[in-house]
């Protein structure tokens, strides 16, 4: 047994898993509050990456470099993504609030396709190089076989986001309002909660998370195009479902399980079947635990 290799694979799996988790967190939060699968989440992630690329281009021209560029790019990307998320909810989901659950779902798919094509027309369908915004930390040098600097940043950010989201939902006023909205929108309105505002806030937060994910992951892969949101969305959705959709720690757990399963499958068997392992595992877990790893079975109100 080659433990060195096993450990390398484990590290890769954890990093890959936290990439999935980072996107899945926003996905699962939106679902948790309004029970909508926001298929356009992947596209918001892609838009975040594009905005960051443009900002980086401009800022680098004016001579800045290093961490400040990353922060600036991430902030601007987050603002843009928040605006997109806010508008998207207003245009595509709010008019369908009272409609059967399938209607907003279709609307979400439409929004996803629209955004992808919109960016493709407005920017380019080609692949674009994305600069490495995360500098190489010197103290990471001995560990680079296992975890690189950007991997480390992704791990830390994912953990921070998970904790922050949990705190936000459990202990803040807006979090309380979100939980109330989730439980019963009519009742929440009656006790004076502005439900529309809460839902807008949910989308804004979700979109900011997607944009941060977009910036970090794009600077890790080194390239972007308008289709990256699709694959990211599918994998994040899988991770969210695996962990129990709507559950914040569940999204992270689901991402990690997915990432590790894929990496071990690819490392020990063959990378040609990577997706087979991922989705095979999803089927298996859903057969055994239909609500996901950490999800609670919700009783359907009849």
């Amino acid at each position: 047994m080659d433990f060195e290799y096993l450990f390398q694979l484990l590290c890769s799996g954890v990093v890959k898993g936290s990439i999935y988790a980072l996107i899945a967190l926003g996905y699962t939060m939106v679902y948790g509050i309004i029970q909508l699968i926001n298929f356009a989440h992947g596209e918001i992630y892609m838009i975040g990456a594009f905005v960051a690329l443009i900002i980086t281009g401009v800022v680098t021209l004016s001579g800045y470099s290093g961490f400040s560029v990353l922060i600036l790019a991430a902030v601007v990307a987050a603002i843009y993504a928040a605006a997109y998320g806010f508008t998207l909810e207003k245009i595509a989901y709010r008019p369908l609030r009272g409609a059967p659950r399938l209607s907003p779902l279709i609307s979400a798919i439409g929004a996803s396709i629209f955004l992808m094509n919109y960016v493709q027309l407005a920017q380019t369908p080609d692949f674009l190089p994305f600069p490495e915004l995360v500098p190489e930390f010197e103290f990471m040098e001995p560990w680079v076989q296992y975890v690189s600097s950007v991997d480390m940043v992704i791990l830390v950010v994912t953990a921070l986001v998970m904790v922050a989201l949990t705190v936000l939902i459990k202990y803040t006023r807006i979090g309380k309002a979100m939980r109330a909205t989730q439980q019963d929108q009519v009742m929440a309105r009656l006790v004076g909660i502005n439900v529309d505002r809460v839902i807008s806030a949910t989308f804004v937060i979700g979109s900011i998370l997607a944009a941060i994910g977009g910036v970090l992951i794009a600077s890790r892969t080194g390239q972007i195009n308008t289709a990256i949101g699709f694959m990211a969305g599918i994998k994040a959705f899988t991770a969210a479902v695996l962990g129990g959709i709507g559950n914040i720690p569940g999204a992270v757990l689901g991402g990690l399980v997915l990432g590790i399963a894929e990496t071990f499958g690819a490392g020990y068997i063959s990378s040609a079947y990577e997706d087979v392992f991922a989705f095979g595992l999803l089927v298996l877990i859903l057969v055994l635990r239909p609500a996901g790893l950490l999800g609670k079975a919700v009783k359907q109100k009849v």
Binding site: Q145, G222, Q223
Partner: protein, 373 residues
């Protein structure tokens, strides 16, 4: 009115037939040109027709071959196998001596049987399907373009002989193009017996992360990586190899030999090898012919023009050397007498592939591909 037009047409047709008959009967050399001249794929066939016409015009202006004028017989088959057999039958029945074509591999294969039975040499400028020559089924078939598997063969030999690799990883993107290249490379390496393919894997195109495959590369301690696929995946693999400090030579097909790769892979592209079509513009004849074409048609020549020009030159030269159009003599001339063409100085090997055409290995140096000598 209509009737009289018809009568006139018939009369004209009859008259022209009557006039042209003596020409046909006269002692000319008939070169057939078959390919798609109409339809979707016409852009692949028309340049060949232009090339043949240019060569023949020049030959005739100089008094023909061994005193005989050359006559072109054009056959349009739209790259469709069923039309290709019709064209072939028609050319054969009209007494064609040698054929330049066909253009698409499928149509070529369909027509070849007919030419083979009639003992007519066929030189294609563009049919790249490997078994057409290597299968040995069609001894009458020659081509001035390298077959599909040549590129992979070249990559494999380069890795073994120039890079001295003993353990090779072959990766691909699971697509037709990438996997085809990977499969042929793997086969070539295994056949050579000088190196081992220790890893043969497909990667998911569009995936966000290839670290598992990269870890495996590190674990197997490979000496070189051959990758079949396009530039986005290649640059992603290279970037992640760079991060994990895995420095092994990386060889890709012509799918990565382009500006897109250089742009996206950036500094990771440095030192990467790629096979690609040989640069034919270095040959003086090529430049001259291209200039002539531009002067005549006012545009750049299209796809397979160079190869078709070379094929026609090879045909003319073979007829000259053989002193006629005897099948065996022509075949011998094609295989033994080299001729200066637009794709370099060529003659054909025993199976009918042109020697000296095809692919070269390039390496990225200072942000540009340079041929490896």
């Amino acid at each position: 009115m209509q009737k009289s037009t018809l009568v006139k047409v018939f009369a004209a047709a009859f008259a022209s037939a009557a006039f042209s008959l003596p020409v046909l009967a006269a002692d000319t050399i008939k070169i057939g040109v078959a390919g798609p001249h109409t339809g979707d794929l016409a852009p692949y066939g028309l340049p060949s027709k232009d090339a043949a016409e240019m060569v023949v015009a020049e030959v005739n202006a100089k008094g023909g071959i061994n005193g005989k004028k050359v006559e072109l017989m054009i056959g349009d088959e739209q790259c469709k196998p069923e039309l290709a057999t019709n064209v072939a039958t028609k050319l054969v029945s009209e007494g064609v001596n040698i054929v330049i074509g066909h253009v698409c591999s499928g149509a070529t294969k369909a027509a070849l049987g007919i030419y083979k039975e009639a003992k007519i040499i066929t030189i294609s400028p563009s049919a790249t399907n490997p078994p057409l020559t290597k299968g040995g089924e069609y001894p009458n078939f020659y081509r001035t373009i390298a077959p599909d598997d040549d590129q992979a063969q070249l990559a494999a030999m380069f890795v073994i002989e120039k890079l001295g690799a003993k353990k090779v990883a072959v990766l691909h993107d699971k697509g037709d193009y990438g996997k085809g290249f990977a499969d042929f490379s793997k086969e070539a390496i295994e056949k050579s017996g000088k190196a081992k393919v220790v890893m043969y894997e497909g990667v998911q195109p569009g995936a966000m992360d290839y670290s598992a495959v990269i870890q495996k590369l590190g674990r197997e301690k490979v000496d070189a990586v051959i990758f079949g696929g396009y530039h986005p995946e290649a640059s992603k693999l290279l970037a992640q190899m760079g991060k994990k400090k895995i420095k092994v030579p990386f060889v890709g097909p012509d799918g990565i030999k382009g500006d897109g790769f250089l742009k996206i892979a950036g500094k990771d592209a440095e030192g990467v090898y790629a096979t690609g079509p040989k640069d034919v513009t270095q040959y003086p004849l090529n430049a001259k012919v291209r200039a002539e074409y531009k002067a005549k048609y006012g545009k750049e020549p299209g796809t397979f023009f160079d190869q078709a020009y070379a094929a026609t030159l090879a045909a003319v030269n073979a007829i000259k050397v053989a002193g006629g159009t005897n099948y065996d003599a022509l075949g011998k001339a094609l295989k033994t007498s080299p001729v200066e063409t637009t794709v370099g100085k060529i003659k054909f090997d025993a199976k009918g592939d042109a020697e000296g055409v095809g692919f070269a290995v390039y390496q990225v140096k200072n942000g540009a591909f340079a041929e490896v000598k």
